[in-house]
């Protein structure tokens, strides 16, 4: 039976479609009439975690007679308190996608031809195990590599443990570089390479440098709830939001003020604001003297004098200089500085810009002391898992682990993963080529600029295994597919944190029996470990991933803090008790904890410990670093134009000119929408239906053009146009948008898959194809807002 989009829509986009979608509907409808009782089915609501994005919302899945038919928010889960975003509501479509991979697949044609043979799990595991045994037998264990996407929890620990026992240093994050909040700014100033918490509820003045807060934040429901509180939750104190970005986004529309700026110039504006704060003496002096390093000039242990941030910023970033680069008037720069410094608590938040531009935004928070304070940047404690038991590495493993990682893996690169460099190094064969590649929760052929770089790199790897439940762009090039369960079919832990820094552990549990012959990747890894034998048995002693979770959760009990999820008054109750030194949880044993976590959806610790500076500042100076001393120690090669002091201070670098500005007169700005944030959900019709609600666009890729610019180019509303850069061209529908700057065009990211089933394949276009490889020397990622394009009618 074939079903096209029109048929699907006829079936009803309402609640009934949740049942009607995909295999679920067909299976249900195949029941003989006599066996369909009129009596109501057995209904259950099962708490679990939404798997549609990284938000970590708690959901309740309505299950009738074993079929998941509806999804609602879990009111006990502190991330979303019963509410959901469009992605969460559409969650059943991932489960019932009719094009899901239903059984292990073995490639039978050439790579990328899409010819597959379904095989049994026994055969599939045999294939993997033989390949892995061969690698170890030949002393090539290090040539196994895993590209991992964005996920959280013990699954990552399990992968690392597996590679540790196997003998490979090659776990590389390919976490869709622009997804999530900026992390490099925090790394440079506070020595922490992870996402911080922004205490948005309690901010009085929020200065957003291109952060897509209200449309594609990493935890959309949480941020929208916070936004409501920020605006109306404190009587008489309506928080102010200023949005600085090249496009009038949803965040810009909702903000008190939108400040249009040239793409990529946000960082220099932040430095101009810092200049004025310092010049007018508006910075928090006690914080600067007690908790920061490098604000003033300093002398190192060898007696060498170094430039301080204050002197550097005062000399380099005068408002008139900044105004010329950004297009923002001098008066506005001065006003923003005054407003930011005098409306406390204030918070500056950026996007995943170049590291030193992120640092420029971060230092604004350092200047106002908005670190580890209410309404500021908070560093959440980790969820206290029990550590995996020790094991003895065998000689092969030890030798393999001593090797350099393929993407570099020394000094700084040990901390920062560089998938783009991985692809380049595979092609060059330096330091070596991998012989087996595992793809887990990632789709590098879609989510990186220059996908041909990755497809060429893939061609150099003899054995590629994908664990994806869907036939995505990268899985399409695999040799073997071991399909994972979808999130509604598997056990998984989900540690995260709230805006106020409280650690939260959500639990994902199967709400239905697996629909197809799929297996949870955690279980598969443990099975492979058993088949490999030897030290693997002590390194990975568990029978399935649920056991891994139960083991890790013992640490939660032992930590003697927090409690399982409860109603809102219980949150304050737990906090109140802990502030008094008491711990009185709802459970008395680990078994009770495990049971209650399943019933309520998770555990959390609703208290933030302020003033634990060892946790807050993990830099060499144990302070907030205006001068990135930690980076200087780690960096083995120049990270900037020079390796002088300004290279380690927040500064702004003009993007390299990749093309002739006369031939390519427009800046390209790529943005994300709420429905398809990143590369995950394009296979879900409801979300493609809601791809661009502000312009009522769906199923296609459009380009937003300023009406005046469009007129000059002879382009009318709704025309199909080519958008072309020196690296490629894509077709998009022209939409005239007043929120587009005259010299900037905006294209949404999310569609344009070469694979992914009937609802994703060949729909829309991927704007990443327009990007080049002007790589940032620190992250190895292409520089986001540097490309220029031209537009003409198709």
């Amino acid at each position: 039976m074939k079903i096209n989009r029109r048929d699907f829509l006829k079936m009803g986009g309402g609640a009934g479609a949740a049942v009607a979608l995909g295999g679920g509907f067909w299976k249900w409808s195949q029941f003989p009439v006599a066996e369909k009782p009129n009596a109501p089915g057995v209904e259950k609501w099962i708490p679990t975690i939404c798997g549609q994005c990284m938000g970590g919302c708690g959901i309740l899945v309505r299950v009738i007679d074993g079929w998941a038919v509806n999804i609602a928010g879990n009111p006990l889960h502190p991330v979303n308190r019963g509410t959901l975003c469009p992605k969460g509501i559409a969650g059943l479509q991932g489960l019932y996608d009719p094009d899901r991979i239903r059984t292990p697949l073995k490639r039978i044609g050439k790579r990328g031809e899409g010819q597959w043979q379904p095989i049994s799990w026994v055969e599939a595991l045999q294939m993997v195990t033989s390949s892995l045994k061969e690698l170890r037998k030949n002393g090539e264990s290090y040539q196994l590599m895993v590209l991992g996407g964005k996920y959280r929890g013990l699954m990552r620990s399990l992968w690392e443990r597996f590679l540790e026992a196997f003998g490979s240093p090659n776990y590389i994050d390919n976490q869709f570089q622009w997804e999530g909040t900026p992390t490099e700014g925090l790394f440079l100033t506070q020595g922490i390479y992870s996402t911080p918490a922004y205490d948005l509820e309690n901010v009085q003045y929020l200065l957003s440098f291109g952060s897509e807060l209200l449309e594609s934040y990493w935890s959309p429901v949480q941020v929208l709830r916070a936004y409501g509180y920020f605006r109306r939750g404190k009587p008489g104190q309506r928080g102010k939001l200023v949005q600085i970005e090249p496009r009038l986004s949803i965040t810009g529309i909702k903000a008190d003020e939108w400040i249009p700026i040239q793409p990529g110039a946000e960082g220099i504006l932040a430095l101009g604001i810092a200049h004025m704060i310092i010049k007018e003496g508006l910075y928090k002096k006690d914080f600067a003297s007690n908790h920061t390093f490098g604000f003033e000039g300093w002398t190192d242990e060898n007696g060498k004098e170094h430039l301080g941030f204050k002197e550097f910023i005062l000399s380099e970033y005068e408002p008139n200089v900044v105004s010329k680069k950004t297009g923002v008037p001098v008066d506005t720069v001065i006003r923003l500085a005054r407003e930011f410094a005098t409306n406390q608590p204030s918070l500056a938040i950026g996007y995943r810009d170049r590291p030193f531009h992120q640092m420029a935004v971060s230092v604004l928070n350092g200047l106002t002391g908005s670190i580890d304070t209410t309404g500021g940047i908070l560093i959440p404690r980790n969820v206290p898992y029990q550590a995996f038991p020790p094991f003895k590495k065998d000689t092969i493993a030890q030798k393999g682990l001593d090797k350099e990682r393929i993407d570099g893996g020394k000094g700084l690169r040990r901390v920062i993963h560089q998938p783009y460099l991985f692809a380049q190094n595979v092609l060059s064969g330096r330091p070596y080529k991998p012989k087996a590649l595992f793809l887990y929760y990632t789709n590098p052929l879609f989510s990186n600029p220059k996908p041909d770089l990755f497809s060429k790199a893939f061609a150099e790897i003899p054995f590629i295994v994908s664990f994806s439940p869907y036939m995505d762009d990268s899985t399409h090039f695999a040799d073997l597919v071991l399909p994972d369960h979808t999130p509604l079919e598997r056990w998984q832990d989900d540690p995260l944190f709230l805006n106020n820094g409280f650690p939260v552990l959500g639990i994902r549990q199967p709400v239905v029996e697996p629909l197809y012959q799929t297996k949870a990747t955690g279980d598969v890894l443990l099975t492979i470990a058993k088949l490999l034998g030897g030290e693997f048995r002590t390194a990975l002693p568990w029978n399935d991933f649920k056991e891994v979770m139960a083991y890790g959760f013992k640490g939660i009990f032992e930590a003697k803090r927090g409690d399982v999820f409860g109603l809102q008054f219980e949150e304050a109750w737990t906090r109140l008790l802990q502030r008094g030194g008491w711990w009185a949880p709802s459970y008395k044993t680990t078994e009770e904890l495990w049971k209650l976590i399943q019933e309520r959806g998770g555990w959390w610790d609703p208290l933030y410990d302020f003033g634990e500076w060892e946790r807050i500042f993990q830099t060499p100076s144990k302070k907030f670093e205006f001068y990135a001393q930690g980076l200087k120690r780690l960096a083995s090669s120049p990270l900037s134009k020079s390796n002088g002091d300004p290279s380690f201070l927040p500064h702004w670098e003009e993007p390299k000119k990749m093309s002739d500005e006369k031939l390519y007169p427009l800046h390209l700005h790529i943005f994300k929408t709420m429905a398809v944030t990143g590369s995950r959900n394009a296979n879900q019709p409801w979300l493609s239906e809601n791809f661009g609600p502000h312009l009522l666009e769906r199923w296609i890729t459009w380009v937003e053009i300023n009406p005046h610019t469009a007129k000059e180019l002879g382009i009318s509303e709704g025309d199909w146009v080519w958008v072309e850069s020196t690296f490629g061209k894509i077709q998009a529908k022209a939409r005239l948008y007043q929120g587009a700057m005259p010299d900037v065009v905006n294209i949404p990211f999310g569609l344009g898959h070469a694979s992914g089933g009937r609802w994703a394949k060949d729909l829309g276009a991927n704007p990443y194809h327009l990007l080049g490889d002007d790589l940032d020397p620190l992250t190895g990622n292409p520089i986001q807002r540097s490309p220029r394009v031209k537009i003409y009618k198709a």
């Binding site: 008054f569 030194g581 008491w582 003033g611 060892e614």
Partner: protein, 390 residues
């Protein structure tokens, strides 16, 4: 008149057991049960939240700012009757503020009021956050820094590891066990004996916590009153602190009202106690943290007495406060003699809360002012009403 003995349950005890625990000795038969309204502290917090008390009242700074922070420690111990009186005096103003903020007046069940009482007691039993700066000064004044200088973490005398202990009971326990060693060192160094008053210990604890940059935190599970009572005997405390004896702790007027104050008291008391124990030939008992928690639960439970009321005085109060204008035989309002044997502070608070706005309106119409009442008057009035207004 029999003495009314109300032992409000200590919060942590209730948290553990969830039971309704009370001290029932010496309770008048006619009032039995009514004065012993059990309170569940957690449920009290729920009442506090759901009845929107938190819109105006903060607890330790968390909540509204329109009314006083109810987590701050009152100047002196507040009995249940005092609390009922405070509420009575406070309500007309509060109702006005509630009306201004459009917070609807919600009726309260008797159990809800009991829970609220339990919560308000419990919250004041915990310490307010101390002042690290004052603590630093105290470390010098009290000569603590002579043995415990500010040194590198991990060095001898470094107190920062203690910063992980979040509950003052843990401090009390450690100090208790550590006293003999400290005493020897102080003698050796010729340091004078020092005492901790008021919130000094809270400030010192806050200071030491501020020294610790470690992330580890140690909390304590709530104590058990019954276990504490047994320990009181087993550890030999009862040998000196016999109930009704000279050193009966329940009669100690300056008994600490918070846990950190208790830690201070145990330190202050230690010299005298060791001496007394030696004289009696007793072994020096050591206490584990949980034993200390249990013992403290028991000791605090002995402090929550209400003073006995005087019915004759209560009759005068009834007239003086002009209750008789509405509530007497022959008036339209209910004759309160039917309340005989039913009155307790919680009952009073609950009835007044539910009935108050209507009463206030009638009082205003009758052009009578709202008469404030003090705690002694409240106790006497309750006793008078409990006896059926003889």
């Amino acid at each position: 008149m029999k003495r009314i003995s109300i032992y409000l349950l200590i919060g942590f005890l209730l948290l553990v057991s969830g039971d309704l625990i009370f001290w029932d000795q010496g309770i008048g038969a006619e009032k039995k049960g009514e004065y012993l309204l059990p309170g569940d502290i957690k449920a009290g917090w729920k009442v506090f939240t759901t009845k929107k008390c938190g819109v105006c009242h903060a607890i330790w700074g968390e909540g509204g700012k329109g009314g006083p922070d109810l987590g701050t420690l009152p100047e002196s111990y507040v009995s249940q009757s005092q609390l009922a009186a405070l509420m009575w005096n406070h309500w007309p103003e509060m109702w006005g503020k509630m009306a201004a903020k459009k917070i609807p007046s919600q009726k309260m069940e008797k159990t809800e009021m009991a829970d609220l009482f339990a919560f308000l007691y419990f919250i004041r039993y915990m310490d307010e956050p101390g002042n690290p700066q004052s603590g630093k000064v105290l470390m010098e004044i009290k000569h603590c820094s002579k043995c415990h200088p500010i040194v590198k973490e991990g060095a001898k005398g470094d107190l920062s590891p203690w910063g992980m202990y979040m509950n003052p009971i843990l401090w009390a326990q450690m100090m208790w066990n550590h006293v003999p060693q400290m005493e020897q060192e102080m003698k050796k160094k010729g340091l004078p004996l020092v005492e901790f008053k008021g919130n000094e210990m809270v400030d010192i604890i806050a200071y030491i916590r501020s020294l610790s940059s470690k992330m580890e935190k140690v909390y304590l599970s709530p104590g058990n009153l019954q276990s504490g009572k047994k320990l009181f005997t087993q550890k030999g405390c009862i040998q000196c602190h016999l109930p009704q004896g000279e050193l009966d702790l329940s009669k100690k007027k300056d008994f600490p009202r918070t846990l950190a104050q208790l830690a201070g008291m145990m330190w202050n008391h230690s010299y005298k106690m060791w001496k007394g124990m030696k004289e009696k030939g007793m072994e020096r008992p050591t206490l584990s943290p949980q034993e200390m928690a249990d013992l403290v639960a028991y000791l605090f439970s002995t402090q929550y007495f209400g003073e006995p009321g005087n019915p004759e005085e209560g009759k005068r109060v009834f007239t003086k406060k002009q209750c008789n204008l509405c509530h007497s035989k022959g008036t339209k309002m209910p004759n309160l003699s039917f309340l005989k044997g039913q009155i307790s502070p919680i009952f009073m608070a609950q009835t007044m809360w539910n009935h108050g706005p209507e009463m206030l309106e009638k009082i205003r119409k009758a052009k009578i002012s709202w008469r404030k009442i003090d705690s002694k008057e409240m106790v006497d009035l309750m006793e008078y009403l409990n006896r059926g207004m003889p």
